[in-house]
């Protein structure tokens, strides 16, 4: 670990130094503006986007780092992507720099996950932190333009980013030529290659590519697509220094982490910041739960299930979650209460995801509706052993055959459901009445498209 001072940058001023008392091993959980938070510190939820004046008085101006210093900072802090993939940002930037041509910088703030709200919260409340990190990343890439991409109908985040960009332009705060791109509201349109493609030619569907986008994107130039939380973390990292920033995390997940709570919690859609080596139980306890729930869906709709007891003790850290066959993903904690049926909930989620395909690859067009139908049959109790075997085989065949990771995510969810809820599966196969049949839906899943009705027209993605 190296300190920011080693990189020739000014030390963080007293106001930011006061933000982290720095007790090692201390776990803190808090929402926007609550005491103990760092990334979400500042005004509370009700006060709208933070103004540039307030942002500067709390964090100081944009740190004067050159490109090599930003890259060294990313390497030293081991900042990982927060959109779900967890790819090291430093490697993305390094690949783009060695590739041919001027890199393109895209910030993906189009949070497609219906239950997740962390990027929306950041863009709506702390837009200048997102833009600061983007400006630093532009420096590292040696470019002076950046695109922030959001879903068209996302209200407060779009307003927050637009207002912040306008403030910066009028004040001449940075040398970045900002573009705010508004794309289609579809789930797969938030995928990185779909975002890059939409910015290039207005078609918001995932793309097939022979090379990684950081080497050659849809425009033919190296394209770096980073999540909005990732750049906000960079904005923070540049102020705190690699060592201090990383110490706010735990082990293989350095830095503060944002989580969204969904399902059976006090406030679904609540975004909290986790600091220190906390567990899922710490987060749930801090937000009002007192006992482990039946199960937790970790990492997003295309994530994995953990049983309540397992999840309650699981540290929110990449290596630990991977030991349990899971991962931090986009930071979603979907809480399933006792009495609800995981198979019924998963069937609803899978039906939604199957309907959200772009209808490009055979995998999604022919495979996902069948997988969704299989899950519905299993949840409805009309499945026998052979049907289940067929569904598992279908999932194995679908894995890794699409242009993007959409079908893989759905298969992962189905597999983990069968793994974790084996007893429920046996009960459903035997035709026993389902305990959770009368339980109201736990996850707020948008009304799914009819997955059997065929591919979506291209206009849906323009």
């Amino acid at each position: 670990m190296i300190e920011l001072r080693d990189l020739g940058a000014p030390a963080p001023d007293a106001s930011t130094a006061a933000l982290w008392p720095g007790t090692a091993g201390e776990v803190r959980v808090g929402g926007p503006g609550e005491p103990g938070t760092v990334l979400l510190s500042g005004p509370g939820t009700g006060s709208g986007p933070e103004s540039l004046h307030s942002h500067r008085s709390r964090w100081g101006g944009l740190p004067g780092l050159d490109g090599a210093q930003v890259l060294a900072l990313l390497r030293a802090a081991r900042l990982d992507g927060r959109g779900g993939g967890g790819f090291p940002v430093a490697r993305k930037v390094a690949a783009a720099l060695t590739g041919g041509g001027r890199p393109v910088l895209l910030v993906n703030a189009s949070e497609s996950e219906p239950a997740s709200a962390k990027d929306a919260t950041l863009c709506a409340l702390r837009p200048h932190l997102v833009l600061d990190g983007t400006a630093l990343l532009a420096t590292a890439l040696g470019v002076d333009e950046a695109v922030v991409h959001l879903h068209r109908s996302a209200g407060p985040p779009v307003a927050g980013i637009r207002g912040a960009v306008e403030e910066r332009r009028t004040m001449g705060y940075d040398a970045v030529a900002w573009t705010v791109s508004l794309g289609p509201d579809r789930y797969v349109s938030g995928e990185a290659s779909a975002v890059a493609g939409f910015v290039q030619d207005g078609d918001g569907r995932p793309r097939f590519a022979m090379a990684p986008m950081a080497v050659e994107g849809p425009s033919g130039r190296p394209t770096v697509v980073v999540n909005a939380e990732t750049v906000a973390q960079l904005g923070l990292l540049a102020r705190l220094g690699a060592g201090s920033w990383a110490s706010l995390g735990a082990g293989t997940s350095p830095g503060p982490r944002l989580l969204t709570l969904a399902g059976a919690v006090d406030r679904p859609g609540q975004v909290v910041e986790l600091i220190g080596p906390g567990t899922v139980g710490d987060v749930l306890f801090a937000t009002g739960s007192r006992t482990p729930p039946a199960a937790v869906l970790v990492g997003g709709f295309a994530g994995t299930w953990l049983t309540g007891e397992e999840a309650w003790q699981a540290p929110w850290e990449r290596a630990a979650l991977e030991c349990l066959g899971s991962g931090p993903g986009c930071g979603l904690l979907g809480v399933l209460p006792h009495g609800a049926c995981a198979l019924v909930e998963t069937a609803r989620v899978v039906a939604y995801l199957a309907g959200e395909s772009a209808g490009q690859c055979g995998t999604c067009v022919a495979g996902l509706p069948r997988l969704a139908a299989g899950m519905a049959s299993l949840a409805g109790g009309s499945f026998r052993r052979r049907g289940l075997r067929r569904m598992v085989t279908l999932g194995d065949e679908l894995l890794g055959s699409g242009a993007c990771g959409h079908p893989d995510g759905v298969v992962r969810l189905v597999r983990s459901t069968l793994d974790v809820f084996g007893d429920d599966v046996v009960r459903h196969l035997a035709g026993s009445p389902c305990r959770g049949a009368d339980h109201p839906p736990v996850f707020a899943v948008p009304v799914p498209f009819d997955a059997g009705a065929g591919p979506r027209p291209a206009e849906h993605f323009a």
Binding site: C361, G362, T363, V365, A366
Partner: protein, 136 residues
Amino acid sequence: MTVRVRIDPTLCRGHAICALFFAEGVELDRWGFGKVVDASPSGRRALRRARRAAAACPNGAVVVTERPDPVPVPVPVPEVASPTRVARRTAPPEAAGTPEAAPAAVGVPVAFTRTDGRVPARVPDGTDTTMDTLRW
């Protein structure tokens, strides 16, 4: 020469013609969509069959790309080395003598270039026939 064969799943409409031409390298799933199992065919015959499959695909979904093998970068030799060892350890003269064709350093990603002459156009929805009539 490193050859790579891939099928663009967004263009594949399950005509299954690639499996006729390049049977050893392509596997069909239950609907007839192709999946490449031998992405780097070795031997001239296999490569020719892969190229035929690429040429025969009505949607241009089979992509055959190739790139030259990375040439090792000459290792800088310390001056204390004897002349014979210097001669042995420097790169061959044709690689070192053409600065305009200087190869990229090992490990630097080089973009694959398409050599089958097809334009990787995206098929606009509505113009392709099979996907609409596919029964599920």
